[in-house]
Symmetry: C2
Subunit: 380 residues, 2 copies
């Protein structure tokens, strides 16, 4: 997928991943870009997150991004902080920019020192081009496929996004790296203000296993090279790309065979709609039922019930694959037909609380024997 | 297990469980007992919970308890409320007491009307004896074993407990029914005040799959027949029985092969210690790692990090099976030896935040292919 104007990217295999697959990725931005940053809320956040937060607080533009996969450089103590700084220095040297304009990111195993010498030895081999595909491949960990998305704006500006993440995925950032690049010229303050709202409705509504990771971030870069664009169209495109990537992440959840989409409307507030949608998407019992094509709506009701959202069971409506299965109480339906309808790549739950105007979506995946296998055998 | 003085119990098979196993259970209390009640916080709570709450608010003593397994009588609308009342009437008739002194409980499938005619046809067959075993067997659903525990007090009074629950188990009551019976004479107000504290530190610290059920309750009955006892010894015994049952529930989690115990100390508060302990016990990634005997402490750190408990990663200590694996940072250890040590029935994680005096325990179980199998195939 071609990057918007102002961005070039590339990747190489540095040997951090034992598999020998590509694991070191770079982006260069010319001129320096405005950016907006949301990162994990985990208290054990990695040095790259601490560093990114400080740069973001300073408000300076960015000229580069370096990502390594295979090692999270987390829980690595003072050495981890120095290694993270060294990562930025190596990238800055390769890109011919200042280290304080380079963002770092690490993803992978926790608690093992980052082999910075490998980065030093291989960073020179990275070729920067207008294509994002090598970058998209190199940032993966247990993902089974690359995650890319794009939208074009009237006038020629574009929004292009890339993400990784398939386990340790839960609201408030997960083992999730997401980068959106645009050549639209956007007011930097608006960028900072609106981006967390987009992340709240997209990446933070993805849940694979309830585990929120230590390293994750979602970043929007705007090079400005394509000039100003209409505000509405721009944020619509950003939202569409972020939502598309969020769905790709959920669909590629560890061991997942299906995407679960939960749409809630009629909630007392948007916050309650989000919470309720996430609770259903995250319910281990519902995830297992989806895996077994079992239209066990009792498990949806249970998850809504403990989500904290206010509702009356006597007023609630639940639809599964467009079939009403609960409307203030059980509704007769064909279990066989519904089970067949669940044998799809995407299982959609629609909930209407009939309480207010709050609406939200959330995405998850089915719980399979494969998830257990992957995570019982993934070694430190 | 023999009940304390003042209690008799029994059970029969009424045909509610398709398997034909015992599913209808009764307890009689003579004279009427003081009691303390904690029930699910789920908004879609079943009629039995609503009824129990009302009786408890009235403050009247209880003379009987009826439990059916195989059908939760939840999300069954107005009919469910009437069926629940009928359950109380049938039990009251059988026991020769007033319906308003009988507590009801239903557990099993959600959304299917309770076949009260079966209860009516078979309740007469229940024989009441001083033995709790038939009752313990009849209240089970997906449990693989009965859960009983007892402690004796100086002077002869006893505390005897019984519980069920193996799936849909999470803090704030789960598909969990727990009943403790004592013949000690205890001040009714103290009973009501202290019981929620015991439940908070025991049953609410059990997590199997993060799903909090609609029907669950923990009840403590005191017949008074053995006379007054020392306060300290009494609550110690109640706590020990509740804790023992909580551990039995976690150990019998759906598909579980191991008990996970998480002990947190040095937290800023007891509430934070509880939250942190539960987060680790509930982490799908850590549960899968325990299943695979993988000492992947990064997953413990991640769970602590998103639990909300305040701590500094640089000050924290983590022990796994008594071996220090993290002490302000990674500590060298033998992965092979530790993996071998994890091949035990119980895997114990000790966390010391070194922040304050807060301490708590939580219990869970490993995540296995068996959990997925059970819950993908359990039919509505």
């Amino acid at each position: 997928m071609r990057l918007p104007e102002g961005f070039t990217a590339g990747a190489t295999a540095s040997g951090i991943k034992p598999s020998g697959r590509p694991d070191l990725a770079l982006v260069r931005i010319e001129p320096e870009a405005a950016w907006a940053y949301v990162a994990t809320t985990n208290r054990a956040a990695a040095p790259c997150v601490g560093r990114g937060r400080r740069l973001y607080a300073d408000g300076a533009p960015v000229a580069g991004l370096i990502v390594n996969a295979g090692n999270a450089n987390c829980a690595t103590g003072e050495r981890g902080v120095l290694d993270d700084r060294r990562l930025a220095e190596l990238a800055a040297e390769r890109l011919g920019v200042e280290p304080r304009t380079v963002l770092t990111a690490s993803t992978g195993v926790i608690g093992v020192p980052l082999p910075v010498a490998k980065v030093e030895a291989h960073i020179g081999a990275i070729e920067l081009t207008h294509d994002l595909d090598a970058f998209a491949e190199a940032i993966l960990t247990t993902d089974t496929r690359v995650k890319l998305s794009e939208r074009s704006l009237p006038g020629g500006a574009r929004v292009v996004g890339v993400a990784k993440g398939s386990g340790m995925i839960h609201p408030n950032m997960a083992t999730m790296l997401a980068y959106l690049f645009t050549d639209a010229a956007v007011d930097p303050d608006a960028l900072r203000r609106r981006w967390p709202q987009v992340v709240g409705a997209t990446f933070n509504q993805v849940t694979v296993d309830g585990d929120t990771s230590t390293n994750d971030m979602a970043v929007l870069f705007a090079s400005g090279r394509a000039g100003p664009v209409a505000d509405g169209a721009f944020w619509e495109a950003v939202f569409a790309v972020a939502r598309d990537l969020a769905r790709q992440i959920a669909r590629d959840g560890e061991g997942a065979e299906k995407l679960i989409t939960v749409r809630v409307r009629g909630a007392a507030s948007e916050a309650e709609a989000r919470t309720a949608a996430r609770a259903v998407a995250a319910s281990a019992l519902w995830k297992a039922a989806v895996h077994g094509n079992d239209p066990n709506w009792g498990r949806i009701l249970v998850a809504l019930g403990y989500s904290g959202a206010r509702f009356e069971p006597e007023r609630l409506e639940i639809r599964l694959q467009e079939t009403v299965i609960y409307d203030g109480g059980a509704v007769p339906y064909s279990g066989i037909a519904l089970s067949q309808a669940m044998q799809a790549e995407e299982v959609v739950v629609d909930v209407d609380f009939r309480e207010g105007e709050g609406a939200a979506e959330a995405w998850g995946c089915d719980l399979t024997e494969g998830y257990v296998k992957i995570n019982a055998e993934y070694t430190t």
